[in-house]
Amino acid sequence: MSATYLGMPSFPEAAGEALHNVTLRANLRHATHTIRDKRARAVAELADWAELREAGKQIKNRTLRHLDRYLEQLETAVTEAGGTVHWAADAEEANRIVADLVKATGEREVVKVKSMATQEIGLNEALEAEGISAYETDLAELIVQLGDDRPSHILVPAIHRNRGEIRDIFAEKMANWGRPAPDGLSDSPAELAEAARLHLREKFLRAKVGISGANFMVAETGTLVVFESEGNGRMCLTLPETLISVVGIEKVVPSWRDLEVFLQTLPRSSTAERMNPYTSMWTGTADTDGPQTFHLVLLDNGRTDALADEVGRQALRCIRCSACLNVCPVYERAGGHAYGSVYPGPIGAILSPQLRGIQSEIDASLPYASTLCGACYEVCPVAIDIPEVLVHLREKVADQGGKGHRLEKAAIKAAGWVLDHPAALAAGERAASRTRKLHPKRLPGAGAWTAARELPELPAESFRDWWKKNRT
């Protein structure tokens, strides 16, 4: 994945730092609570939400089961509609293909629609190394790019920034990239949005090459779909002469009709709206409308590894709505950066270790970045059982061994024995209650576990004893 994230500390370490950042926690709490409440109202408007969710799940499962067939069908349809299809096995190959395509146009700058796939492969950095400037045009991505920062949320990448911070970034940095921020810029969202409009408009109107991802690709028709709000996506998809779309292979759906499900579930789950302001759909090239050259780069980059895992493959159903981030108590406190990946939150905790493997410290720690409360599964519009995958990945990490996991295995084994022997359990509980004054606040030898957790206080007597005394 992106070089930006190499050498990231493990989740507990990174989260520990974030927990002490009061501004970050306040920004995140405000944002996640606002959007989760709005989402619940938007979802409640549809009486058939459960059926739409089930249909979305089944469409994606069907797609994944026959992914080879649908990718070949998509390739044929896109080609017949005037596009060119490329296949990229990994990030390096995808970046190479895009850089060569841009160079072939003779251009040295490109405008970009916000795209998780291009962030995942570190495309901007790869293009920069080739002398090509890539301008992010989504307002939040612009804030991240100008601030030399990393995105921390799938949908609102600058969610960790408040208006004052954004004002400072615009005032200091816009001039380095083009049109400077207006003098006396205030921190009102309307003024900040206006500054971004003026700054980016000069880039849109002259851009010859646009780069995007896609929310969906339709195998049957070769249609690509981008959901957005600001119109920056429309600008990048409409005005340039050449359009290059980099899309994960799991984004395909079999039929045109399938979109009717996701057009209802994605906006409500992500921005909590009945519909996002703009959705663009294009099928190859059109005679005088939009880019005259269209390239589609189909990206694997670990997706086929995830597909091979029978429990974990359901993560590939993800439509990147970010509802799971907004309900997660761990994300709310730790923030997106702690996950060390462009995919933060619960979905990131299962997707990143599958795409990248579990060898690195950060990836081995991600399946533990959860309380397993299950809220993420409840809100997921394609019913990904994130807790199930987390537990499955924890087992893999534990099997791999390494720091911390030997003790964990011993503890689980001991717990298993005790729970199988009721008399021992009762005796243990009684002994624990009687000695509770002597218990340390931190468990010796398990610092990794207790550093972020207080040990629960033990009651004066066990529940069994209490029950015997009061109820029998």
Partner: protein, 217 residues
């Protein structure tokens, strides 16, 4: 494509082979059940129209209702109120709609540059259809709508919906009427961003004012 360790064919074959081996033992996934509703709204044209009006307005589109007779005067008024000196016109827009307007008509030609379009004050178009439940208008680049760029660059877009022919209740009803081979743009309210503390601000890059005219009869 490029020289180097990769060639297009080998990556294609490699990815497809990896997919096949990954799902070789996966359980069969049946055709998806479509137990969801095709509409959430009673089949009553007046109620559907009211819902469209309400949902368009909820996302800050300015909604007008008019008749063919009143149409030229309404458009004249809307352009005058905004002080628009120039108005973009797609090739197939009914000429009578703008017959009373004072603004200079700019006809979209394929040679018009983005900078030229940026200097135009307003644009008037028709649409392919409108969806009541989501407050969405859909453009498909038909003759009364023109290229996608003309409804994107000017800051003021007036979109005309023919009632009841172009009004559907729901997203599933819209899908079955649209042609995926055409360039499609779905518009739900004016351009908006929620990237700053999730405060919704209308108008970033697309038109900051969207007026929808519901043309009855």
């Amino acid at each position: 494509m490029s020289a180097g360790p990769y060639s297009r064919t080998s990556s294609r074959d490699r990815i497809l082979a990896r997919v096949r081996s990954a799902v070789a033992d996966a359980p069969e996934a049946p055709e998806p059940a479509r137990d969801y509703l095709t509409t959430h709204t009673p089949d009553d044209p007046a109620a559907v129209l009211d819902l469209l009006h309400e949902n368009l307005a909820d996302y800050r589109a300015i909604v007008h209702r008019t008749t063919p007779d009143e149409m030229p005067w309404l458009l004249m008024r809307l352009l005058a109120e905004r002080g628009s000196a120039t108005v973009l016109v797609p090739p197939g827009l009914p000429p009578e709609w703008l017959s009373a307007a004072d603004a200079t008509r700019i006809h979209d030609r394929s040679v018009s540059t983005a900078q030229e379009l940026d200097a135009v004050d307003s644009v008037v178009t028709g649409c392919a259809l409108a969806i009541a439940e989501t407050g969405t208008i859909v453009l498909d680049a038909g003759p009364g709508q023109g290229r996608r760029r003309i409804t994107l660059i000017p800051d003021h877009h007036i979109c005309v919906v023919r009632v009841p022919d172009q009004v559907v209740a729901s997203v599933p009803q819209a899908m079955s009427r649209l042609d995926p081979t055409r360039p499609l743009t779905w518009i739900s309210g004016p351009s908006a961003t929620s990237d700053i503390e999730l405060d919704r601000v209308e108008g970033v890059h697309g038109p900051r004012t969207l007026e929808v005219v519901l043309l009855q009869g």
